[in-house]
Symmetry: C2
Subunit: 528 residues, 2 copies
Amino acid sequence: MKNHKEGRSWIRNLPLQLSPPSLKDNTADVDRLIRGIKKGLEAEAVRIDFSLIKKATQTLRKYDYNVRAAVFQERNGWCLIDIFGAREGGGIYGLALDLGSSTLVLRLMNLEDGEVQDEVSFHNPQIEIGPDILTRIHFAAHEGGLSRLQDILIDRLNEEIGRLAEKNSINPKSIVGMSVAGNTTMTHLFLGLDPYWICREPYIPVVNSPGLITSYELGLTINPGAPVLVSPNVGSYFGGDLMAGILASGMTHQSEVSFLVDVGTNAEVVIGNRDWLMACAGAAGPALEGGVASMGMMAAPGVIDHVRIDPVTREFEIRTIQDDGSDKASQGQGPVGICGSGLIDLVAQLYLARMIDLRGKFVSDTCGDRLVEIDEIKHLIVVPPEASGTGQALTLSQTDIDGLIRSKAAMYTILTTIANTVNIPLKEIGRFYVAGTFGSYIDPQSAITIGMIPDLPIETYISLGNTSLEGASMALLSGGAKQALFQIRDRITYLELNVNQGFMNLFSAAKFIPHTDRSLFPSVKTRN
Amino acid sequence: MKNHKEGRSWIRNLPLQLSPPSLKDNTADVDRLIRGIKKGLEAEAVRIDFSLIKKATQTLRKYDYNVRAAVFQERNGWCLIDIFGAREGGGIYGLALDLGSSTLVLRLMNLEDGEVQDEVSFHNPQIEIGPDILTRIHFAAHEGGLSRLQDILIDRLNEEIGRLAEKNSINPKSIVGMSVAGNTTMTHLFLGLDPYWICREPYIPVVNSPGLITSYELGLTINPGAPVLVSPNVGSYFGGDLMAGILASGMTHQSEVSFLVDVGTNAEVVIGNRDWLMACAGAAGPALEGGVASMGMMAAPGVIDHVRIDPVTREFEIRTIQDDGSDKASQGQGPVGICGSGLIDLVAQLYLARMIDLRGKFVSDTCGDRLVEIDEIKHLIVVPPEASGTGQALTLSQTDIDGLIRSKAAMYTILTTIANTVNIPLKEIGRFYVAGTFGSYIDPQSAITIGMIPDLPIETYISLGNTSLEGASMALLSGGAKQALFQIRDRITYLELNVNQGFMNLFSAAKFIPHTDRSLFPSVKTRN
């Protein structure tokens, strides 16, 4: 964000000291304004929406032709967003939005210096209608359902926008641009477009590249002429959030080949460099997100995110996420559950302490008293009742481990399959970017240990955090980044994952810890 | 209009048989539509307004991707107007509008073969608020005045559009384009723009080139996505009607220099050829339109438009406009007044019959009994009470003649001044186009006789009729003509008429019949 160059902004604040009309220069007000903008931007074409024509002439005359124009660049020229009196002062601002299905992150940015002014995160209000995307798609098919979903989203955004503007003492009218990245369904619900066909073969969205939409068409209470940039999708399963993520990773600037992995409900995997890009998606998520394990939870305060087991004493050292977001050795209130990264840590440590074998099965000898049987299924007591925050023991069952192993095997198989398709040996991967909240908690060493990700030097793994928000911010600030977003979309090749015999063979081989072919994981071999 | 080439239309009807989506081709509906339009038109860029995105996908699915698109060309690509099912059938239509301050002429055209489908003419409903432009400008300044003026105009247009559509059995939604030519004030009132500064120094319109406006923004009940092309103005006194007139005249295609004169309340004069264009305007109108003479009237049934006086017997032969628009020797109901062309004929004939002298003064000897004195001013009885349609004598006063002579002198002076400015001797003018209703009635020979227009071969004078409507129609049908309209606007040089000593000297010399310098009017000299 720091290397943002003002000269490349596609939304600008242009001071205009126009010469007032005279008998010698009787150009009309609007044409005079256009002439001034053309000169100021060295632009060939400048467009003014009809709705702004009335206002433009009033403002010009009120401020004696001494004004400033907020403008944005479009395909072949520039377009007026709004016109202000020069004396009115004030800068121009923009919003970047990570439109998650669970959480929305709204960032207020100063469009002149590119700095982050403020940021707020809140739950997607559509959760009250349906916690997951599929429920919302079905709800949208009911009479009035689609507009209800859009309305509660826009209303909530407007509330937060109002609060952000007030807190930062800026007029919402000075918010003159917005950049939004979300998955394909969320993008459709934001735009009020029917997501019906997204989840039905052949999975066709209404639109891939909605282009720039003015904010008043969406009912947003920022400047009505503000362009809203919606990050484009490649299809139903490759959303604008992933395009933004690829942009944010910078992988398309590098000559070496990188992986970008975003693990949500689906695992989205991108491989490529500055010359080519290939992507695929597969269901690898739930177990990794902690959603499958009986004590699994979303990352939140009180949730276990790191585990260490002494290989000799087999004592457990458990860390939980604190209220301030840090993680510390559990003290005071005990842990209440485990998140995906904690689960990966736990299973890796159980393997290294030989408490599970290479098939992930509990080893009675080493588990000792911790192993109990509930409903004929073996469970490992991770936190005893007296130490837990719930008053109940936190346990990990054989079923939980089996689920995690299927998920990690799916992930490793997807990575192998896409790398094989482009004929790149996994060891030649230069960088492995992990996107998303999940990625920011995960310990790559543990993920390697269980064989979920390739056994690459640990510095290859780079956690990027919220790439959707970061990519949206970049596209808001820079015309080059905005253009790159659409180029990424157009360049990406979609790999349809055929679950054929070859895939199943790879998957079966990956269902061991770390893998049937241990030579693929030399670092795990040596440590064990 | 006959040489209209479909290939050059900027509004088109494009059949699109799109391949339905599949797992192999998962392009979204809207992007699929855009891809089809790009291919069909060999276009680089295609734009879809956000409001059409929802409809587009519904129509595509309803008609199994077998559709047709109405599209229009804009600066750097094409834009979707609407999408129809291929099975729905039907053509596409457009409207050309001559937006006169007194009379509106609305023409329905078939946009596929370029033929005129129907045409209707009616009074401007704003007349009930103010008969003249200035009254309307003042009315617009009152609270709600501007929107009232716009509303009654649009309402009336919508009525007529509905009637035209019904009469021609077409769906108003299939009217997908409109082209409007009017003077600068009328254009502003049509668009709901404040005309306040048009009549105040330095006479600045709100806008010169409004560009293409979609019909729903103006509240027109044709297809809401239809582009409305508004003919651009050069300033407050050179309206879009004149630009359309220049286009219709074809003078910008010729190497020889032409005049184009449009006499309304103002005389608008254009001189030029394919390489250059200069225009000026001056108050020469009222007397010529018949508005000054006591018996003067607008051209209408019962009004005298042609007069012949036998130079020997001095008998009057009077023709009036008939109900069917033709003119015949007066019979049955007598004449009720005289229009501008009749007045020019009358004064020319009085001069040739030596009933007025070269200063336009009545000659008692030759006028005889026809000359009476009313309120100490000499009047000539043109139609005695018993032959008139009003029961009163129709008379022409010395004041009327003096007024006409000032007007004709102003016209001739303007023509001389603008020709002098560009250094073109009047005798080198190849064609002299006369636009407007007034032009279609005028007898060039009589106008030459009184010295209003130069003494050129009679075939030099070409009456063009309603050039505003004709130009608007051309710009509706052809992309080249539309472009030419804006090129004319941009190329035209405005000549500010300085009423200085030089102008006054020319004016004084022109206040004789035909002129002080009789060598300028050799044809009049020989006949007299």
